[in-house]
């Protein structure tokens, strides 16, 4: 804002140092994943040579590929269902006035603020009573709670910003309500739909507690659970665990950063409304 060039330069330098310190653990995880084991044992900060053997080791571990497949199935399914549920709900909350709307808003806000631990016990018991323990179905369904509220907020914000004239013009032209939504709204909403779907995927991808509580068999494990099993007491390697960590973290981080602009506003709105 104000201040001379040199002051700005100094503050940029300070920002860089702070950013490095805050990201240091993440950088260290990445470096650990590309270091040969002797470098890790000697605690060398910088790898003597860059190696991919840790990544090869991870993908050769029994069950890692199965877990990768499971995580993709659960993540993509819950992302698609979340988006399909959130889009009409957001449209309804944005465009119509009706009795009970306040209650719906409250329910969605409440779902967002409710931490998983607070309802873990009944969810575990209900899933067991339904005979869905150790199924991907149970994970897909419970993971909907992670992204659905935020998806509704973000999409509602988007729809609020689209002028009603567009739809009214189409209505006057004789299009049905449904046609208006599909032909007019859907194309405009596409970027936002992709953003909230991606976010739902990212949340499901890294989810740990529900997976830990609902899954005990190796063929339905998701990636976070598979990473845990890499702590093999017999042939344990930090490099392998860090490589597994990078495989899990990288898609989540990249996808979030790509859609950051669309998501951050909705996340803040959700927090501040509470």
């Amino acid at each position: 804002m104000r201040g001379g060039r040199s002051a700005s330069f100094l503050l940029d330098g300070l920002t860089g140092v702070l950013l490095f310190l805050l990201l240091f653990p993440v950088i260290w995880i990445f470096l650990g994943s590309i270091k040969p084991d002797p470098d890790i044992m000697a605690a060398n900060p910088w790898p003597t040579r860059v190696t991919f053997e840790n990544y090869i080791a991870v993908f050769n571990k029994e069950g890692f590929l199965v877990a990768l497949r499971n995580s993709l199935i659960v993540g993509l399914s819950s992302a698609i269902i979340t988006t399909a549920l959130a889009a009409p709900a957001a449209y309804s909350l944005s465009r119509f006035d009706y009795r009970g709307k306040a209650a719906v808003n409250l329910l969605i806000l409440g779902t967002q603020t409710l931490p998983v631990v607070a309802v873990l016990v009944p969810i575990v018991v209900i899933v067991r009573n339904l005979g869905l323990t150790n199924t991907l179905t149970a994970l897909i369904f419970t993971h909907l709670a992670l992204g659905l509220p935020i998806a509704v907020w973000v999409l509602k914000g988007y729809i609020d910003a689209i002028p009603r004239d567009l739809e009214e013009a189409a209505l006057v032209d004789g299009c049905g309500r449904f046609e208006v939504m599909v032909r007019v709204m859907l194309p405009l909403l596409k970027p936002a739909l992709v953003a909230v779907g991606t976010f739902a995927f990212v949340l499901s991808w890294g989810e740990y507690l529900l997976a830990l509580s609902l899954v005990s068999k190796s063929d339905v494990r998701t990636l976070p659970l598979a990473l845990q099993t890499l702590f093999d007491p017999y042939q344990f390697s930090w490099g392998t665990v860090m490589a597994g960590g990078v495989v899990i973290a990288l898609p989540a981080v990249l996808l979030f950063l790509v859609f950051r602009k669309q998501l951050v506003g909705g996340l803040l709105a959700g927090a501040v409304k509470g």
């Binding site: 605690a43 309804s92 016990v121 509704v152 989810e207 740990y208 973290a249 927090a271």
Partner: protein, 304 residues
């Protein structure tokens, strides 16, 4: 361009059927999301209340039977649980404190229009979006007594002995609390940044013209403008911290001894290790009520 479409049906007098459809439509569109939200949030909450009044201990009473206040009586006499509650408050307040302590200077630095500030505003989010399982194992790596970079630093500084801080009860709680705050801080940063950007420059210019120094401007303009954001976002982050599980379970499993057993860990252990689901439900019910009261108190800190 929409108007150039050929008109197949001019909107005339709407038929009663069409009017009815128009009235039902909003409900129909919101219903699927409401049903799912209710199934994942409301039904479990109600079921949890019912469960908390059951006598259900898989080793002695394998099917639930009505037990009245049995779980609540047991809960109030459970010394280890109340230690965990106290620890959870220390952990929660510690986490939010670390989040604010990191976020305030970072947000002030990022509230500038330079390329560095813009890049950093994006990259700062990385710890926050990195899954707990990765962060937890990463920090175990950093704090490992044989190979950990941060462990060596702590050892040199005399904070840690030859063993990792994670093996020391007080050290472990301090370490996981700090890591929890470090991971949550970026959310506070982006919230603060949004609040800072909404302060009009004219306010600062006017204050400067009146002879206010940088500290006075911070104290009388910046702090009041972002105060409510800090309180509300701090509350949201506090609720999240209160119900934490992942980081602690991944890093210490609640140990050494019970040193990092916070409520989330107690609830998980009550279900899966002690096999007492009804007792765990009672803990959850009491914690939800306690947290609701605490949240209402925190909201009183807002300035109207």
């Amino acid at each position: 361009m929409v108007r150039t479409l050929t008109l197949t049906e001019r909107a005339g007098n709407p038929s009663p059927a069409r009017l009815l459809a128009e009235r039902i439509l909003p409900y129909g569109m919101v219903a699927p999301a409401v049903v799912v939200a209710a199934a994942i949030a409301v039904v479990p909450l109600l079921y949890q209340i019912w469960l908390s009044f059951q006598d259900w201990y898989l080793l002695r009473q394998p099917t639930p039977a009505f037990g009245g206040l049995i779980n609540f009586v047991a809960l109030f006499n459970d010394g280890a649980l109340w230690s965990a509650v106290l620890r959870t408050w220390i952990w929660t307040i510690g986490t939010v404190f670390v989040e604010i302590a990191i976020a305030v200077p970072v947000a002030l630095l990022l509230n500038r229009e330079t390329a560095m500030a813009r890049t950093a505003s994006a990259l700062i989010l990385v710890p926050w979006v990195t899954p707990f399982i990765v962060v937890g194992f990463g920090w175990r790596f950093l704090l490992d007594s044989d190979v950990g970079a941060v462990h060596f630093l702590l050892e040199t500084l005399g904070i840690a002995g030859t063993n990792s801080v994670l093996t020391d009860p007080a050290g472990a709680l301090a370490a996981v609390t700090f890591i929890s705050g470090w991971k949550g801080a970026p959310f506070m940063v982006i919230a603060l940044l949004a609040a800072l950007k909404s302060i009009p420059d004219e306010l600062y210019e006017a204050a400067e013209a009146d002879g206010a120094g940088p500290f006075a401007r911070f104290r009388h303009i910046t702090v009041p403008s972002v105060w409510n954001t800090v309180v509300v976002v701090g509350l949201v982050l506090g609720i999240l911290a209160f119900y934490s599980f992942d980081l602690v379970w991944i890093m210490t499993k609640g140990g050494p001894q019970d040193a990092t057993t916070i409520i989330g860990i107690s609830i998980y252990k009550a279900v899966f290790l002690d096999l007492r689901p009804a007792y765990a439900a009672a803990i959850s019910v009491v914690m939800l009520v306690g947290l609701l009261v605490a949240s209402l108190l925190v909201l009183q800190l807002r300035r109207v």
